[in-house]
């Protein structure tokens, strides 16, 4: 339980003063040694607000060296934490939220009218008076990009081992296993034998966990959307690449299961209000591959339907899947060479990329839209658990 120290007896103007020699202690208690759990139940991004209030006091007393020193120590402290916790999603998300919030504060209180349109008169009183921190904003923006990249790398590392078994191998639709192609042993995507299979539920549970951590920490909704767009792109790329290389999963039944799995993921996006993030659109090649597996592949009309529907797959990918396609049983025919030639003839004018496989490490450029806070600095309380009693409220 958090104990909050309320010191509002004086007219608090939303500034925090400290002796220069206490700066290392401030950075240690607020940045390098801080555990995000210490702040559960408090205002999200509290460290960012505290740091801004310290910067504001240094600005107020016109101490440029103190501002330089605090910002440099903060940035180096954040980098140190990230290096130490380079596989910790919660810690990385926490510092992404706080770095972005500090960047938003430096904009919101910069005095630049373009960033002040949503400020209350009280918030306008909390603007910097002496210094223009535009260059430091650039550094914080660069740092935010680095942290975002680390966050994606961690999340991808956690999700990637689940993708093939959850999307292509796991059978959650009842009765589908009976219509699997015969003659193929169930393959494991792992190097070692054993039960390493994951269901789609495991992916959804993991994404629920990512989502709740980022929301609880007050990460900007636009950034959360970009995280999931990136993760959905990777799910699409890893699953499609595997499909393009494995005969045993190129079947009607896998197509059916795959389409069902993608629908579950689309529903998850809608449930989290992330349907406008662009995440679902990144799955289009995989959706088209699932459709290709399910469509009839015999007549010229079937070829026409495939060419009309599978617009997110290249000719090379369509042909590859058709070549790998495995009939369910002796009653279903293989795709004929003539059918594949018809497809190739119909698609010859397409300007397709040359490579067969998708670059699953591709990253979309990230944007950090300005997101001012409605919070007023003088309403912020510092929990005793932070051990920052050496900060004086001004």
């Amino acid at each position: 339980r958090q104990v909050t120290v309320q010191r509002k007896e004086k007219n608090f103007q939303g500034m925090l003063e400290y002796y220069k020699e206490d700066e290392p202690l401030l950075i240690r208690n607020l940045v390098t040694d801080l555990k995000p759990q210490t702040l559960s139940g408090t205002v999200p991004c509290l460290p960012a607000y505290i740091l801004y209030m310290c910067i504001r006091h240094a600005d107020y007393v016109n101490d440029d060296l103190k501002v330089h020193s605090l910002l440099t120590s903060t940035i180096n402290g954040v980098k140190k934490v990230l290096k130490k916790h380079n596989d910790d999603f919660e810690m990385t998300s926490f510092w992404l939220s706080n770095t972005c919030r500090l960047l938003h504060c430096l904009k919101q209180y910069s005095g630049d009218e373009g960033f002040m349109t949503q400020n209350t008169p009280k918030q306008n009183e909390h603007c910097l008076k002496n210094f223009d921190l535009t260059e430091y904003r650039q550094v914080l923006s660069d740092l935010s990009i680095q942290i975002y990249q680390q966050l994606i790398k961690i999340a991808e590392g956690m999700l990637q081992p689940m993708i093939v078994s959850a999307m292509l191998e796991n059978e959650s639709i009842q009765g589908l296993s009976g219509v699997k192609p015969t003659g193929y042993r169930k393959r494991s995507s792992s190097m070692v034998d054993g039960d390493n299979s994951y269901s789609l539920d495991a992916i959804i549970r993991q994404m629920n966990s990512f989502h709740s951590v980022m929301c609880d920490q007050g990460l900007d909704p636009e950034i959360i959307q970009q995280v999931f767009k990136q993760l959905f792109y990777m799910i699409n790329a890893v699953a499609l690449n595997n499909l393009l290389l494995r005969k045993d999963v190129c079947s009607w039944s896998t197509g059916m299961q795959l389409r069902y799995n993608i629908s579950q993921l689309e529903e998850w996006l809608r449930g989290k209000n992330l349907h406008q993030s662009g995440a679902a659109e990144t799955m289009e090649p995989l959706i088209h591959a699932a459709q290709l597996l399910q469509l009839k592949k015999k007549t010229p009309e079937d070829a026409e339907a495939i060419c009309t529907l599978c617009t997110s797959l290249s000719t090379q990918q369509i042909v590859k899947i058709l070549n790998l396609y495995t009939p369910l049983n002796e009653f279903e025919e293989r795709v004929t060479v003539a059918f594949i030639r018809t497809i190739q003839a119909q698609l010859q004018d397409r300007n397709d990329p040359q490579q067969l496989l998708l670059d699953f490490k591709h990253m979309f450029p990230v944007l950090f839209p300005f997101n001012p806070s409605s919070l007023t600095m003088d309403s912020i309380h510092i929990p005793a658990a932070l051990n920052l009693e050496f900060l004086n409220e001004v």
Binding site: D64, V67, H68, L71, T72, I75, N76, K79, G111, M116, N119, P121, N124, E125, C127, L128, K129, N130, F131, D132, L133, T134, E135, Y136, Q138, V139, D142, L143, Q146
Partner: protein, 32 residues
């Protein structure tokens, strides 16, 4: 109403992120 400063704010020059890291490394090397 916003309280505008009478004089323009002074631009504080900042090192880049890479320069900051270099400075940090050399400081750490110097300390025992």
């Amino acid at each position: 109403t916003s309280q505008r400063p009478a004089r323009p704010r002074v631009l504080l020059k900042a090192p880049t992120l890479a320069e900051m890291e270099e400075m940090n490394i050399s400081e750490e090397e110097e300390s025992p």
